[in-house]
Symmetry: C2
Subunit: 225 residues, 2 copies
DNA sequence: GTATCCTAAATTGGCGCCAATTTTGGTAAC
DNA sequence: GTTACCAAAATTGGCGCCAATTTAGGATAC
């Protein structure tokens, strides 16, 4: 394969969103809320596809435990499970803080600039983007950050498990303040990276994942009042 | 549902090994080696099932990246990838050592006794078991240990990712000595747990996952000679 | 109003079939 | 021996169909 061919192949793959992706998107954006009965014949119409395609998509999503399959009764979107969400957050904290030293060690001026750009892109999507664009801007930032770990399996794994629970856009950001804090935290992470401050990066990553408010004392005081 | 009905339903689910499990078992035990072309019509015969069942199994396994799907050419078992294996091991070390303190904290005499029993069961399977039984005895030990973390998502996740690479039985234990060391390490982990020695447990878990030999100085010296 | 029953409609599950594509093996040419 | 070609055989992919199961709505009884 020449570079041109690689480029074309990449574009083809990137442009092909199959039914699984489409259903997933609608679940994550709240169009298909928790509990929704995903009738196969409805999905055929909705996504203008065939029954086998619908079935494959649903089976895949059920394997990821985003939807539940009940024999002879079909599939429905799983209800949020607070315990699972907590456990997934815990896992993410473990994984993402564990590689903070690698990220700092491997950061280059180019990667830092790239992350700054992605953090700014998130800011912009906060203002003018759709729910999905906003969500994807967040994913893009975090993926780029995690790629600095050099562990591709870990990058993919985190990407996978984030989809399992309340990190999805419909539930992740409940307030405007929370969104804004997330945006600030992105920039602060890049600052920590640039300063090669591993401890600060770890602290920021954990706070970010847990969405705790201990990074802004003034806001913390306001909440207690 | 009454208790009787629940009991029956549980039994039914436990006894049902679908084609996905059967294919997976044959891949992990080396019956279907890396590179094997998994022809749908062959699998139908091999597992006495229908084409749609085969297809579902293959799609699931391809989603797990155990088999690769090439359009119009079918599915084949992935070749081992040393880099992926290393990355998965790194992830496992991160996760499993991170919860060592929780395991120690939550260990009860009953759970320790249970782990001892499972470690002994592994010993026995080393002597008299099939490759699969041996493999499953190992999984059972590690699952029980990880359950002490209290994080079910983590238990399931580790179980999942272990299937992705060379932790599978055909490649995990290359020598008799390695197997025996693994067996000893199981018991030593239980010892550390009982002694509530978090540092020791972490060290053992890491050595065990990486299959390094630094737990037995005499053997280490012999290898350097 | 609630509970029960029944039936038609809706939906799921899975099979058979066959067109499209690839592989295999034989033959011919060099 | 290698390469190219071709046809038959093998395999994949996906569609239509319909039996099995569930749901929804109406009627009846209390």
């Amino acid at each position: 394969m020449s570079m041109t061919e690689m480029h074309d192949a990449t574009e083809t793959a990137a442009n092909e969103r199959d039914v699984t992706d489409l259903v997933l998107e609608d679940i994550l954006t709240g169009v298909l809320p928790a509990g929704t009965w995903l009738k196969q014949i409805d999905l055929e119409k909705r996504y203008a596809c065939t029954r086998p395609e619908v079935r494959r998509a649903l089976d895949r999503l059920s394997q990821k435990r985003l939807v539940e399959h009940v024999p002879n009764r079909g599939y429905h979107v799983y209800q949020p499970d607070g315990r699972r969400a907590q456990e997934v957050s815990d896992i993410r904290v473990i994984l993402e803080t564990a590689v903070a030293d690698l990220m700092v060690e491997r950061a280059t001026p180019e990667s830092i600039a790239r992350l700054r750009e992605l953090a700014s892109h998130f800011d912009r999507m906060t203002m003018v983007g759709t729910v999905l664009e906003h969500y994807e801007a967040n994913l893009a930032f975090h993926r780029e950050l995690l790629l600095l770990s050099g562990n591709n399996e870990l990058v993919d794994l985190v990407s996978e498990i984030r989809q399992r629970t309340s990190s999805a856009p419909v539930s992740q950001w409940r307030t405007r303040a929370r969104v804004e804090r997330s945006a600030r935290e992105h920039h602060m992470m890049v600052d920590a990276l640039e300063a090669r401050d591993v401890a600060d990066l770890k602290r920021l990553i954990e706070a970010h994942i847990r969405q705790t408010g201990d990074t802004a004392p003034a806001e913390s005081a306001a909440r207690q009042a």
